[in-house]
């Protein structure tokens, strides 16, 4: 049935190994997915069903009321909007800066290039907490505390390493002769970049953009540090607060958890192959 790497005549040993393999695989996948499924179930349960012992595996009275509660809360809707805004703007900024930086890194020879690339990579390993104190001071002096601009700037800076690495790797794989042909026809470097390179590297740009979006959507430390007013909170900051106000409304907490993750889950499922490839390019080519 399944192709096996081991070649050997003893079918019994192979079959036992296959059984063990599928058992391991099942346990692993269950361990990964079951918690999510359970919370999804909680989010669809009535309050009474949540408190029932033993807890039912399938909600006996499935309901969307928890989701109505969640979306009925203005602070939650606001937080979703803020997250879209912050993650969207972060994606835009870091893609723009990333494309501009990746092109010379991929194509032009200059001194200090290796150092620059290493510097970008080092940022991926940077303990972000090390900078919150001085940034807090900086933003305070610049009047940027509690603004979207502050959070977008910080998020973009920390999304840049991945963007730059993916795009540089991608640009390097493009054939040079198209660019050269465009140049012979008199196109400027900027024209070459926007007219030739970008259309060709759309898949790489999309991958980088999605990864940045996911990163910014999930970010918490900076948002929790630099944003004070509830009006500005993204979901990651609003959700723990939401959980505190709806302390005993477990169904609503479950519904909120699912709602916040759903957009990202959709992205992950649709672009699975690309995201994995992008993550690996970012991580392994270092």
């Amino acid at each position: 049935m399944a192709a096996t790497t081991s070649s050997g005549p003893d079918r019994k040993g192979t079959r036992a190994r296959d059984a063990f393999f599928y058992l391991f695989l099942t346990v692993f996948v269950l361990a990964v997915v079951a918690p999510v499924a359970w919370v999804l179930k909680m989010s669809l349960s009535t309050r009474a069903d949540l408190l029932a012992t033993p807890p039912p595996i399938v909600p006996p009275h499935p309901t969307l009321s928890n989701y109505t509660t969640v979306f009925g809360a203005p602070e939650f809707r606001r937080a979703l909007l803020n997250s879209v805004l912050i993650a969207g703007a972060t994606t835009l900024v870091s893609l723009t800066f990333g494309v501009l930086a990746a092109y010379p890194l991929a194509r032009v020879r200059f001194r200090g290039k290796a150092a620059l690339l290493t510097g970008f990579l080092a940022l991926a390993f940077f303990p972000t907490v090390a900078i919150i104190a001085p940034l807090f001071k900086e933003f305070r002096e610049l009047g940027l505390l509690d603004t979207y601009a502050a959070i977008i700037a910080v998020d973009s800076a920390f999304a840049l390493p991945l963007t730059v690495w993916i795009l540089t790797a991608f640009f390097r794989t493009l054939p040079r002769n198209l660019e050269e042909a465009a140049r012979v026809d008199g196109a400027s470097t900027f024209r070459v970049l926007t007219g030739v390179i970008l259309p060709l590297s759309a898949p790489g740009v999309v991958t980088a953009g999605l990864l940045v979006f996911v990163f910014a959507w999930n970010e918490f430390l900076f948002a929790n540090t630099f944003l004070f007013s509830q009006d500005h909170w993204p979901v990651t900051v609003a959700i723990p607060g939401f959980a505190t106000t709806h302390t005993i409304d477990f169904g609503a907490q479950a519904a909120a958890s699912i709602t916040v993750t759903l957009p990202i889950l959709v992205i992950v499922f649709v672009f699975q192959r690309r995201l994995v490839a992008g993550l690996m390019a970012g991580a392994l080519k270092g």
């Binding site: 399944a2 096996t4 790497t5 393999f21 391991f24 695989l25 692993f28 990964v32 997915v33 918690p35 359970w38 949540l50 012992t53 723009t96 930086a101 010379p104 890194l105 200059f110 620059l116 510097g119 970008f120 390993f125 303990p127 907490v129 090390a130 900078i131 919150i132 104190a133 807090f136 001071k137 973009s156 800076a157 920390f158 840049l160 730059v164 140049r183 012979v184 008199g186 470097t189 996911v214 959507w217 999930n218 918490f220 430390l221 929790n224 979901v235 990651t236 723990p240 959980a243 477990f250 479950a254 958890s257 990202i264 889950l265 699975q272 192959r273 995201l275 690996m280 991580a283 392994l284």
Partner: protein, 311 residues
């Protein structure tokens, strides 16, 4: 005509390197490269580089959020080491990092070796494995709090079924630590798995076959071929996970409702919430930064430099 020829000569031959090119256009190209790189470099400099240096500066001063006081040498660092909260935070962070990284790497490697086989529904499994990665840490902490909760949680319920008493999982430090490690393992092991899986796929199949012909058993092949060839992926996975665990923040913050302290939550509390401890907090931030560099260097040395498989 001449214009085109000069463009061709000047701009489009980075393959041959800078030396042979006409001087003027090489400069033009260099200027253009600088111009294109500057937004990214400026942003990163302003948001990461300058603040780090500034933290270092502040850590030697009697600083507050509002103003920078006089130079006070190592006083902030001394105050830090006298603070029992900081000691607890460091110990918690060390335990969390050690245990979770070992578990994540062990399970991740086993899973990667299993998933390396070809089987049906492999794409589906790979998607499933990415699910925890998609969850924001804060949300996975909240989600697990729900499952660990006394009244409606499935975990205490199952624990009671097996005969573990009515201990409240979210109230004492020890079980909170165990729970946090558990959530971290759930959330990040799949990522380690994917990373190692990608590494495995770069190992040429012939190597394994040759060893098989030579009569090497599975363990010998794992130890002599797979692991050494996997070193770059292992380095990245371990480095990533260790440094991330070392700066754990959101997980502890939400999971324990602020009861469990890590180095990062300590820094956050001192510089952001109790502004009186700002100076101490900057010293703590410097220590987090330096210790991260030390961790990175140790990994680079042990995993990158030794060439053979001597043990």
């Amino acid at each position: 005509m001449t214009l085109r020829a000069s463009r061709l000569a000047g701009r489009t031959v980075p393959v041959t390197g800078g030396r042979s090119r006409p001087r003027g256009s090489a400069d033009a190209e260099g200027r253009l490269a600088v111009a294109m790189l500057s937004p990214a470099v400026l942003l990163v400099g302003a948001v990461a580089l300058v603040p780090v240096l500034y933290t270092l500066y502040l850590s030697f001063h009697d600083a507050s959020v509002a103003e920078t006081g006089p130079y006070n040498g190592l006083a902030n660092y001394r105050a830090l080491l006298d603070d029992p909260d900081f000691i607890t935070a460091s110990a918690n962070t060390a335990v969390f990092t050690a245990v979770s990284v070992v578990l994540e790497f062990g399970i991740g490697l086993a899973a990667a070796l299993a998933l390396h086989r070809r089987f049906r529904a492999r794409g589906l499994v790979r998607s499933a494995v990415l699910v925890p990665w998609a969850f924001p840490v804060v949300v996975s902490a909240l989600m697990w709090r729900l499952m660990l909760q006394d009244q409606v949680g499935i975990v205490p319920y199952l624990a009671r079924q097996i005969g573990f008493g009515d201990s409240s999982l979210l109230s004492d430090q020890h079980s909170l630590m165990i729970a946090s490690i558990g959530v971290d393992v759930w959330k990040t092991t799949p990522f380690v798995t994917l990373l190692l899986l990608a590494g495995l796929q770069t190992i040429p199949e012939e190597l394994n076959e040759a060893a098989l012909v030579d009569g090497a058993g599975p363990l010998v092949r794992l130890w002599r071929i797979t692991l050494p060839m996997l070193k770059p992926a292992i380095l990245v996975a371990l480095l990533f996970r260790t440094l991330e665990a070392w700066s754990v923040y959101d997980l502890f913050w939400v999971m324990s409702d602020r009861q469990l302290e890590s180095l990062s939550t300590y820094v956050y509390r001192t510089v952001r919430i109790s502004e009186l401890a700002f100076a101490k907090g900057t010293a703590a931030a410097v220590l987090v930064f330096l210790s991260s560099i030390v961790i990175a260097l140790i990994y680079m040395r042990t995993l990158r430099s030794d060439p053979g498989e001597q043990d």
